[in-house]
């Protein structure tokens, strides 16, 4: 599904290159649950964003379902990422001005899905996450765990093949964290590929493979 060949990422500043990622070679198959670990500044998030097509690599090749992502124009990238990839963040990143229902609806709007169909999809999801009663609340009226649930619901509403989670439990206490991890595990069991960045050994265990990053290198 994903194939990275010699991916490097660096920032150039007055002729000094600062490397974030160096020669990353990675292959991820459909249905895997990968945990990326490593100390702060190791390049975990950058790797995640490059895979998620929010950022581009400085060097190397990236194939997504055998399509060369590194050669794509912005429009194609946006198209590909909005139909195949869902994101979950440590800080939830819900839109403050929108209600729970509207937050869930937004990705569907960008996919130009018809009103009736959209309403159905949102209702199903609210039902599934037990959030029907909270649909008209704003994010700041919810607890952190509830916000992250909404964020996950928003990430999967477009039925993506791949979910990228950047420390999804980082801001949650252990009970809530566990709930979120269980949910991710369940999604994985249903066939969604998941890549998560985490500091926690315990959470890493939910996955079936661990990749350790250090100073931009993959540790073998």
């Amino acid at each position: 599904m994903i194939k990275l060949n010699n991916i490097s990422k660096y920032y150039e500043n007055k002729f000094i290159k600062t490397f974030v990622l160096r020669n990353i070679n990675l292959e991820i198959n459909e249905g895997e649950f990968i945990s990326v670990m490593g100390p702060s500044g190791a390049g975990k998030s950058t790797l995640l964003y490059i895979i998620g097509m929010l950022d581009t690599a400085s060097e190397g090749e990236y194939y997504f379902y055998d399509e060369p992502v590194h050669k794509m124009k912005e429009k194609k990238l946006t198209e590909l990422h909005k139909s195949h990839i869902g994101f979950v963040f440590q800080q939830y990143h819900l839109i403050d001005e929108l209600t729970v229902l509207e937050n869930l609806e937004t990705p569907l709007l960008y996919q130009k899905i018809k009103t009736s169909e959209r309403k159905g999809m949102v209702a199903d999801l609210l039902d599934r996450f037990n959030m029907v009663a909270k649909k008209d609340l704003f994010p700041n009226q919810l607890s952190g765990g509830q916000q992250q649930l909404v964020a996950i619901a928003r990430a999967i509403i477009t039925k993506p093949k791949l979910i990228l989670a950047d420390e999804p439990t980082g801001n949650l206490h252990s009970g809530q964290g566990k709930e979120i991890m269980e949910l991710l595990k369940k999604l994985n069991d249903e066939g969604t590929t998941i890549i998560q960045v985490t500091h926690s050994e315990e959470n890493a265990k939910y996955g079936n493979k661990i990749i350790k990053l250090n100073d931009g290198w993959i540790e073998k």
Binding site: T46, T78, H93, E102, Y110
Partner: protein
């Protein structure tokens, strides 16, 4: 999708109440000012366009240079029109207006009303001009003498209804004359350069017809379609050679045109399109006050700048605050939006705000229009907004403003790399926005120009009020229309002099306040050749005129009963003496031609100090005072403490002599003030607009200061922990604003100097532009800006640092 954008836009407006308030209200003020000014300009430019043939109607002007004086008038001799029609194939029709029937007394029930707007016109009046008829017909309306046409409201005033064709009105001409109403027309629109209530027949004018050198008629030509008026204009020279010269040779002793012109004299006729009269004619004796194209430019600039200031606020606040929305942009990008959707979202938001502003502005204009109309001296109607040009602008405006204000954040924010935003690597860089600093400087520079303009206009008005006019304008009571007293005028004056508080009285033709007056040519030698001629105003005065008006003698003596030579003597003003070239004028002689074309000799017995008998816009011209009985006004120098008693005495004494005709009076300082009404209105409107512009600019500054304080709350917290005092923090935050305002002043000063110097050229007598004005405006703007900003900076400086630091 658009619903989603609108929802977010409305929630954003609601959530950030202060910023939304500043944005919407500021823009609304800007748009409201702009609309008011546009209504004014639209009215000014619409003058005389309602005539069906407006593009073919021209008026003949006359420019006369004779004996060192210049005359620029909108009038011609009585023959001009008909001879032009006879000689030029381009001229389809001509018509004349003789407005000097002027005042008429028209009987209404038992008493007479003074009617000021009475014209005598040719029967061709309605062939040239377009005034819709309500009753009767204008076809042969003024062919018969003693016929009259009334406007609708005049008819209603006298008869209670408009359908009055065939009825009669009575005036006191020749002690009672009946005029038959032959038609009633619609009221004259307010945007006509002449306005009247009554049209009488030209046949009722008693005049020395066929006189080529007396000019008393407003003559209009209707040219044939397609005729080139410039060509007719050029040929007018030949017209003068053909008709005027022979006449002048006989009556003025002029031998040839060459000789006449060699002595620095000239007579020139020209055509002006009727639609240009209101904006471009600066001639004396226009039938109503003309506008000034210069003011149209000034007002347009002011309107544009206020709108710009408001738009800049909008732009600055939106861009400054857009930094807070980078997160939202980032999330939306993660969720799969593309650039276009983001751009349209931001544009929707700014356009919506702009639409709110336009709505508020329309409401404001609706309520402000009556008082603005009064200030502008116009009948402006809200319904005029629906006129094509203005409506077009109103509809287009929110989109333009929305695009201007929304485009920067839209394009700027949509460019960001979402990964960077999500990772929090993009911070709004406040100092970085050079554009923002530039815009604030521009706003304040505009405000400074308006402040300087206001101060200088008021200094000039003050100068006019406080300069010694050379006569006394206070404490003079003027009784009008004393023709009505007939021979009882002396009795009236003498009886009034017995009333306690009346110090002196005079029966006069002219007052020192401006009015249309007689002009005559005087000669230094007994040979009346053009070289030694001087055109002067000629007033007839009595013994008490100088005393009552407070005019002072520089040399010689006043007319007096003690000498027998009053009718052969003359008093000149200093300018006349100078122009004649006398060093010792007393006991010298000057000459003029009397009605029978005979030379008459006058001895100079006195010289009065120059006094301002024209407005400050004009130089004091030469003036010649003759002794003579005249009627028109009786003026009294009175003690203002007993004015009530004096007025009631005047009323009862008037009634006993004039009976049915009502007393009309005025105080001379009132008519003096009226003279500068339009200058004062300019002052008031510029003052209003400059206050508004500063207000709007300060609102923007307030918003920016609040934003800056919010952005720097962490820095402020850290500095306080490190021991900074409140004052130091306030200074830190205010420093930048102070620099902006100072820079704005430096840019504004030379611009303001050039504009105001130009404005002052309208006055022959004017104040100096004092450099203190600039310093004061600098200090004022700095103070206003500092006060505005300080409310926010002090609040920020007083915040407990624990709060702002822990927040992160």
């Amino acid at each position: 999708m658009i619903k989603n954008y609108l929802k977010i836009a409305i929630r954003n407006i609601k959530r950030h109440k202060m910023y939304s308030f500043i944005n919407i209200l500021g823009l609304a003020i800007g748009i409201a000012c702009c609309l008011l000014i546009m209504l004014y300009i639209q009215d000014e430019l619409s003058y005389d366009r309602f005539h069906k043939n407006a593009d073919r109607i021209y008026r003949i002007n006359t420019d006369l240079k004779f004996g060192g004086s210049e005359l620029h008038t909108p009038i011609t001799s009585d023959m001009m029109g008909q001879l032009m029609k006879q000689d030029y194939s381009e001229v389809e029709e001509y018509t004349r207006i003789y407005p000097y029937g002027g005042r008429k007394l028209v009987k209404h029930g038992e008493v007479y009303n003074v009617e000021l707007r009475c014209f005598h016109v040719d029967t061709t009046f309605f062939k040239v001009f377009t005034f819709p008829v309500l009753y009767g017909s204008t076809e042969n309306a003024l062919v018969d003498p003693r016929s009259v046409i009334l406007t609708e409201s005049t008819a209603k005033k006298y008869f209670g209804k408009a359908d009055i064709v065939g009825k009669y009105i009575e005036t006191d001409d020749n002690h009672g004359t009946l005029y038959k109403v032959s038609a009633v027309i619609k009221d004259v629109p307010s945007n006509s350069h002449f306005r009247f209530d009554f049209l009488f027949s030209m046949k009722d004018v008693k005049y020395d017809w066929g006189n080529f050198i007396s000019m008393n008629f407003h003559t209009y030509l209707l040219l044939r379609p397609g005729a080139d008026y410039k060509k007719v204009d050029e040929e007018l020279v030949q017209f003068n050679d053909k008709y005027c010269l022979p006449y002048a040779k006989e009556h003025l002793g002029i031998k040839s045109r060459e000789e006449f012109e060699k002595a620095g004299n000239s007579i020139l006729n020209s055509l002006i399109p009727i639609t240009k009269i209101h904006m471009y004619s600066k001639r004396t004796q226009e039938m109503s006050p003309t506008g000034n194209i210069q003011y149209i430019y000034i007002y347009s600039a002011v309107a544009l700048f206020i709108l710009l200031i408001a738009c800049i606020n909008f732009m600055n606040l939106t861009t400054a605050r857009s930094a807070n929305r980078t997160r939202e942009v980032g999330i939306r990008k993660v969720l799969g939006t593309d650039k276009q959707s983001l751009i349209s979202q931001f544009l929707t938001e700014s356009t919506l705000t702009a639409i709110c502003s336009v709505l508020i502005a329309l409401i404001a204009v609706y309520f402000m229009l009556p008082s603005f109309s009064k200030l502008a001296g116009k009948d402006l109607y809200f319904s005029n907004i629906v006129s094509r040009q203005i409506l077009f602008i109103i509809i287009l405006l929110p989109f333009i403003v929305g695009l201007l204000a929304g485009s920067y954040p839209a394009f700027y924010l949509s460019k960001f790399n979402p990964a960077m935003i999500i990772k929090g690597k993009i911070h709004s860089n406040y100092r970085g926005s050079k554009l923002r600093s530039f815009l604030v400087v521009f706003q304040f520079a505009t405000s400074v120009i308006l402040i300087i303009g206001t101060i200088i206009i008021y200094r000039q008005l003050n100068y006019i009020q406080n300069t010694n006019l050379g006569y006394q304008k206070d404490q003079v009571l003027v009784i009008n229309d004393t023709y009505a007293l007939g021979s009882g005028i002396e009795t009236f004056k003498n009886e009034m002099l017995q009333v306690p508080g009346v110090k002196s009285g005079t029966i006069t033709e002219f007052l020192p306040t401006p009015s249309a007056r007689n002009i005559e040519v005087f000669f230094k030698e007994s040979i009346s050749v053009a070289q030694n001629g001087l055109t002067m105003q000629r007033w007839k005065i009595d013994y008490d005129y100088l005393k009552t008006m407070g005019i002072q003698l520089a040399e010689g003596r006043n007319f007096s009963q003690d000498y027998g030579d009053n009718t052969s003597s003359v008093i000149l003003n200093e300018t006349a003496v100078k122009k004649m070239g006398y060093t010792n004028p007393i006991d010298n002689y000057i000459y003029t031609r009397n009605d029978n074309n005979q030379l008459t000799k006058y001895k100079i017995i006195g010289v009065v100090k120059d006094f301002h008998y024209e407005s400050f816009h004009q130089d004091i011209g030469p003036l010649c005072l003759l002794y003579g009985n005249s009627m028109g006004h009786v003026s009294f120098n009175i003690n203002m403490a007993s004015v009530a008693n004096i007025l009631s005495e005047a009323k009862s004494k008037w009634k006993s002599i004039a009976q049915t005709i009502p007393l009309s009076y005025q105080f001379m300082d009132e008519s003096f003030t009226n003279m500068y009404r339009s200058d004062e209105n300019t002052g008031t409107s510029v003052l209003t607009f400059s206050i508004l512009s500063i207000f709007v600019a300060c609102m923007g500054l307030f918003g920016l200061a609040a934003f800056l304080a919010e952005q720097k709350s962490k820095e402020i917290g850290v500095r306080k922990v490190l021991g900074a005092s409140v004052l130091e923090i306030v200074m830190l935050l205010s420093k930048e604003f102070a620099w902006w305002v100072l820079l704005a002043n430096i840019i504004a000063w030379p611009v303001a100097y050039i504009i105001m110097n130009n404005w002052l050229q309208n006055f022959a007598y004017k104040t100096e532009i004092n450099w203190l004005v600039f310093i004061i405006s600098g200090i004022v703007t700095l103070l206003i800006a500092f006060t505005t900003v300080s409310s926010q900076t002090i609040k920020a400086a007083l915040t407990n640092p624990a709060k702002s630091i822990r927040y992160e």
